[in-house]
């Protein structure tokens, strides 16, 4: 029996290895045609003219993700602090499961909300003709990253020993000073890990950005520009591209870059949580 279970365990390594291998082999086939330097340092992504520069797509991904973090980080940490320090039990018992359920909402449904709700709101507030842009994507990705940020940072805040708070009150500090000077610094690594995990989720999201950001391949000028992310570009072009062409391999090369970025983000989060666990 042991062997059967062990094989299941090894299977996971095989899948991750397989994914990495698949990305690398196809990317190598691409780099045989297009030098990696050109791929990584030029902005034009025009496969029909043989131009394969990732920078515009990368900028799209980074702009939308950064925008999402600007919205989700303060809101998420604020909510987590409120839930763990101020909220009454019934508020917590309602809001926490609701936030967890938000994490389960399919990404197409969030994208749909982007088209029918967020887009008209952006159009009327910013007085622009098109509401499908980086801002829309950022708002939606913030919604998708919030559950992770709230749950993980709330866990971190709750893990701060009660003695710390008591000691601070004992010295005459009030609740806010205690929170600011004692609780948050103690929970800091966990909160950072929460932000990194939320960011990982936003970076790799495909359907919401595909539906809500407008998908124009032009280097983004600002938050109101329509942008195309790496993920959306793969989703759009993989369906039309002839198999085993340079363009086909090029899409795998962009996926490899995405894989490396999200791996780095998740790896950092994991290192931080492992570090915290050692002290508990």
């Amino acid at each position: 029996m042991r062997v059967i279970f062990q094989v299941s365990g090894f299977f996971c390594i095989a899948v991750l290895g397989g994914i990495l291998l698949m990305l690398m082999i196809n990317s190598i086939a691409f780099f045989a045609d297009i030098p990696p330097i050109t791929f990584l340092s030029t902005t034009e992504w025009q496969p029909e003219y043989g131009k394969y520069g990732i920078l515009t797509l990368l900028a799209g991904t980074l702009l939308v993700t950064t925008g999402a973090m600007v919205i989700a980080v303060p809101l998420g940490i604020g909510t987590a602090l409120y839930l763990s320090e101020y909220a009454r039990p019934w508020v917590k018992n309602v809001l926490k499961p609701a936030v967890e359920m938000l994490a389960a909402v399919p990404s197409v449904v969030v994208g749909f909300i982007g088209i029918v709700v967020v887009s008209p709101v952006i159009m009327s507030f910013a007085k622009i003709p098109n509401g499908l842009n980086a801002l829309n994507g950022a708002v939606l990705l913030a919604i998708m990253a919030l559950p992770t940020i709230i749950t993980v940072s709330e866990d971190a805040i709750r893990a701060v020993p009660h003695m710390f708070r008591e000691a601070s009150y004992g010295l005459g500090a009030n609740r806010w000073t205690t929170l600011q000077k004692v609780v948050v610094p103690a929970a800091y690594p966990g909160i950072i890990a929460a932000v990194m995990l939320g960011m990982g989720r936003a970076l790799g999201e495909t359907m919401t950005v595909l539906m809500a950001t407008g998908n124009a391949i032009a280097f983004p000028k600002g938050i109101f520009s329509p942008v195309r992310t790496i993920t959306a570009n793969i989703a759009i072009e993989m369906g039309e591209v002839p198999f085993f062409s340079t363009h086909y391999y090029g899409l795998f090369a962009t996926a490899l870059i995405l894989f490396i970025i999200s791996f780095a983000v998740n790896f950092t989060a994991e290192k931080i949580t492992a570090h915290i666990r050692r002290f508990q």
């Binding site: 299941s8 365990g9 299977f11 909510t79 499961p97 790799g204 993989m238």
Partner: protein, 283 residues
């Protein structure tokens, strides 16, 4: 204590964050349930799409999603539970085990579109399954694997060490302990995790984009080697790829509402099982 002023301002700000969050949840669910709920009817659920998808219901995508989720379950549950049993009951705490754990954590962080590419190269092209229900199901099976493993292992860990040791002391083998003691005790927890993992897989779109999902099927027959319609992909197509935007808007709202209800239902089921059956062993 200092003046109340320094207390009240930050407290209000934090309350504001929580209120925004609550408003967000209520408006999102309210919008979809009210507007989409108006479209829902028995015939919407049981009719196939007609008139170039501008009328009719969503029976075909529902059946596609059900079939797809069944395959996902058949792939991810046996392998996932097997791996969790290995990690929780058999594996020594060594380098190899750490590598397996790291692989599982990293798999959970791989963007879903990359799973789609993997499914395309391995199942559609490599194994020659073509763009099919089978290829998509296998892809989603791999995607769900890390969630199934993590939740199963967690459920198995709540079974007290004392029960394992007692059974071992009576002469039971590892396998007997797992089969007769650990798995029965952990079943509600495993079921909770399985439901959550599968509900997540059922809502995925990116991994099935190029592995088997299709825009439209005329019949409602389902075959492992055939392309299929799925609820999330159907919604995506209706809102972004359909020409008659005004006409399909109600259908899209209905589909979104069904997807949301599905998720709420499965999550509530999972939470209920957890509350009712998961034993809290006190040390």
């Amino acid at each position: 204590m200092k003046t109340n002023f320094t207390e009240i301002i930050p407290q209000t700000l934090l309350l504001l964050c929580a209120l925004i969050m609550a408003a967000l949840l209520i408006s999102l669910a309210g919008y979809l349930l009210l507007k989409g709920g108006a479209v829902l009817s028995l015939s919407f659920l049981t009719n196939i799409p007609t008139n170039g998808m501008t009328a009719g219901g969503i029976f075909t995508p529902i059946m596609g999603t059900v079939a797809l989720t069944l395959i996902t379950a058949l792939v991810s549950l046996p392998v996932g539970i097997g791996a969790a049993v290995y990690l929780s009951e058999y594996a020594a705490d060594n380098r190899l085990t750490q590598i397996i754990r790291a692989a599982i954590r990293n798999l959970a962080g791989v963007p879903s579109i990359i799973f789609g590419l993997f499914g395309l190269t391995l199942f559609v092209q490599g194994l020659g399954l073509g763009s099919s229900l089978m290829a998509s199901g296998l892809t989603l099976g791999l995607l769900s694997l890390p969630y199934v493993i993590t939740t199963t292992e967690e459920a198995m860990r709540t079974v007290p060490q004392l029960m394992r040791e007692s059974a071992l002391a009576l002469g039971a083998t590892r396998w007997e302990v797992t089969r007769d003691i650990i798995l029965p005790a952990a079943t509600p927890g495993i079921a909770t995790g399985a439901i959550l993992s599968l509900s997540r897989a059922a809502g995925e779109t990116a991994p099935i984009l190029f592995t088997g999902a299709t825009f439209y099927l005329s019949g409602s027959s389902i075959g492992l080697k055939d392309e299929f319609m799925a609820l999330p992909y159907h919604l995506y197509m209706l809102v972004t790829q359909h020409q008659a935007i005004e006409q399909v808007q109600p259908l899209a709202l209905g589909t979104a509402c069904v997807l949301l209800l599905l998720v709420l239902l499965l999550n509530t089921a999972a939470i209920t099982i957890r509350r009712k059956y998961v034993k809290q062993y006190q040390p």
